[in-house]
């Protein structure tokens, strides 16, 4: 317990060794809102491995590059071939690269919440001014922001490239804005689903597997059923089936409201009426994920 010696040795000249001892803190205490912001920024940085080990940076950074690379290539092609439009719509980009997004959410949602559960750090948060809801909101907002960065960055590359290639400005800006709204919604939805699943298990491995399973199995089932419905000419059913997987939900919402071309078989996206249902289900899932997380952490407590 080596403490400072109680020394205040005065030598011949003016050299002094001060023993500061324990100093009380009487500076500002910034309270809940500040703590929530700090947790948000720490979690957001953590989602890209910043402030963590070098190993933790590899996967998120790699996925970020993989996400942006096709956009760079498309832009290069568009500039070189002087084509009149980009090879891919802004709204379509995230749908095409959904595997990368799924991998990202599966790897980062568990690292964001499972660690605190596994190492029982949660009680240390709740013995401080922040409440359950602050913790949940900070974590949710951080992961959604991280996903938005991942999905919006390639759109920015596409948009910048489109302007470089001197494509129609108004057209491109509208498409870009629609794309941003779509990926914002996607980020909120995917972050919510990822966090709810990850918050149930303190084991990171289970969390990763469960998130991937939920995202791919629902998408696999939905697209298979849609293909069958398409073959059997029951085109009316295609749009309704799409309600049952996260990525097709986003596809439906953006085909109905954001001028996107649906990726559903035969392009049978939902009409405006069905689109409202899609939007309500999406918003309901986001609110539900938030509610479930709050309930989950009320139980974890101390």
């Amino acid at each position: 317990m080596a403490t400072e010696q109680p020394t205040a040795a005065v030598t011949g000249d003016q050299t002094r060794i001060h023993n500061i001892g324990y100093r009380a803190y009487d500076g500002p205490r910034l309270g809940r809102a500040y703590a929530r912001r700090s947790l948000y920024s720490q979690s957001l940085r953590g989602a890209y491995g910043l402030g963590r080990s070098a190993k933790a940076k590899v996967l998120p950074m790699l996925l970020f590059v993989v996400m942006c690379l096709p956009a760079g290539i498309m832009v290069a092609v568009a500039v070189v071939t002087k084509s009149k439009e980009l090879p891919l719509e802004y709204t379509r980009y995230a749908i095409v690269l959904q595997a990368v997004i799924s991998l990202y959410i599966a790897s980062q949602a568990p690292q964001s919440v499972s660690r605190d559960l596994r190492f029982k750090t949660v009680p240390l948060y709740f013995s401080r001014p922040i409440e359950t809801s602050d913790y949940v909101r900070a974590k949710y907002a951080a992961l959604a922001s991280a996903l938005f960065l991942l999905t919006a960055a390639p759109l920015i590359v596409l948009y910048a490239g489109a302007l470089l290639a001197e494509l129609d400005f108004a057209d491109q800006t509208a498409g870009f804005a629609q794309g941003l709204v779509s990926v914002a919604l996607l980020s909120l939805l995917f972050a919510g689903i990822g966090l709810v699943i990850a918050s149930v298990t303190p084991r990171r491995g289970f969390g990763i597997a469960a998130v991937i399973a939920v995202l791919t199995i629902t998408y696999g089932a939905v697209s298979t059923l849609q293909a069958i419905a398409d073959v059997q000419d029951s085109t009316g059913a295609i749009a309704w089936i799409g309600l049952f997987s996260p990525i097709t939900l986003i596809d439906g919402v953006q085909s109905a409201f954001l001028g996107a071309t649906s990726a559903f078989p035969g392009g049978h996206g939902p009409g405006t009426g069905q689109g409202v249902v899609y939007l309500l289900v999406t918003l309901g899932l986001i609110a539900g994920a938030h509610g479930l997380l709050i309930r989950r952490y009320k139980k974890v407590g101390l």
Binding site: Y25, R29, F119, K120, Y125, I130
Partner: protein, 325 residues
């Protein structure tokens, strides 16, 4: 002792199947206070209520003059908490972790860094603080846990079983550190343990709870004075085939009451008696020498919770339950 740091008034907490706290009323002043009780006595439940995290079923409690039911956040800003269990992520360094926790307590970034460096130094972590916590010894981890409870300079800290898992040396160091939290840092401490012995040396006051009720609350000096128990063991001789009984009777004649040691290890051969002062030792020596018996041992006993039970027994017939340690 003028300032009341914690006050509870017929505080109860009932779960569907167990009563964790039963009408607990106690006032705790500034200084180091030990909260002693067997596992499941309601210590952790009390801390949760005092942090404003779990509502009491009945009664009220105040911490630093703030009502736990309505001012939980304000209390948690001024109070530190060190949990009993592991709570540290292995892949970050002590510095990073404690800085983060300081910010969670509301300290601005620069202050969080400065206070972290200071606090880690005060709990005795130096160069290691830049290495990942995963490689630390149990003693070092306990220090990090303590540091995160102190980093925001609270007025009061709750330490839940801080000596758990430590070897004797580590235990003594931790107890010394707890003492300094009050004497050097000016922070009041509520420390729980199931070992009364180690708290006696560290605390100004001891509160003993069992089954959610208050068994005893007094200053440590009262405690030791009234409960210095001696264990005496003697040999038998031809003259006195049952030496133990002979000594008991002789002591009784000299006005020293011998307790019944039954239920404790070596019962029947060990005499337990309460020493009222130095002269008791002389009386015992004289009595045994007078009977011509051999004195095998005479030692001060460590106080166990069981003995506190026996004490309170005389006053208010409580059921004696043998508790471990």
């Amino acid at each position: 002792m003028d300032v009341t740091v914690i006050a509870t008034e017929s505080l109860s907490k009932r779960f569907p199947r167990v009563t964790a706290l039963d009408r607990l009323s106690v006032d705790i002043g500034a200084g180091v206070t030990g909260l002693v009780g067997a596992n499941g006595a309601g210590k952790s439940t009390l801390i949760k209520i005092l942090l404003g995290l779990s509502p009491a079923t009945e009664g009220r409690a105040e911490v630093l003059g703030l009502d736990v039911a309505t001012k939980g956040a304000a209390i948690r800003e001024r109070v530190g908490y060190m949990p009993e269990h592991d709570c540290l992520p292995p892949d970050v360094s002590a510095t990073e972790f404690v800085v983060h926790m300081a910010r969670m307590s509301g300290l601005p970034p620069t202050a969080a860094r400065e206070r972290t460096a200071d606090t880690l130094r005060h709990v005795g972590l130096y160069e290691e603080r830049y290495r990942p916590i995963g490689g630390y010894s149990t003693g070092m981890k306990q220090r990090v846990k303590l540091a995160q409870a102190l980093v925001h300079d609270p007025q009061l800290v709750f330490l839940d079983e801080p000596t758990n898992g430590l070897d004797p040396v580590g235990r003594d160091e931790m107890l010394g550190l707890i003492r300094r939290i009050h004497t050097d840092f000016g922070i009041s401490v509520l420390v729980t343990s199931h070992l009364l012995g180690e708290l006696e040396r560290t605390c100004d006051h001891v509160v003993v709870v069992d089954g959610g009720t208050l068994l005893r609350a007094s200053s440590t000096t009262d405690f030791t004075q009234s409960t210095t128990t001696l264990a005496v063991e003697v040999t038998d001789t031809d003259e006195h085939p049952d030496g133990t009984r002979a000594v008991r009777d002789a002591l009784h004649a000299r006005g020293i009451t011998v307790e019944d040691g039954s239920g404790l290890p070596g019962a029947g051969h060990v005499l337990l008696l309460t020493a009222t002062g130095e002269e008791t030792y002389d009386v015992i020596r004289d009595v045994i020498a007078g009977l011509g018996l051999g004195l095998v041992r005479m030692e001060q006993r460590r106080h166990h919770i069981a003995e506190v039970f026996k004490d309170s027994d005389d006053a208010q017939r409580k059921e004696v339950v043998g508790h471990g340690n």
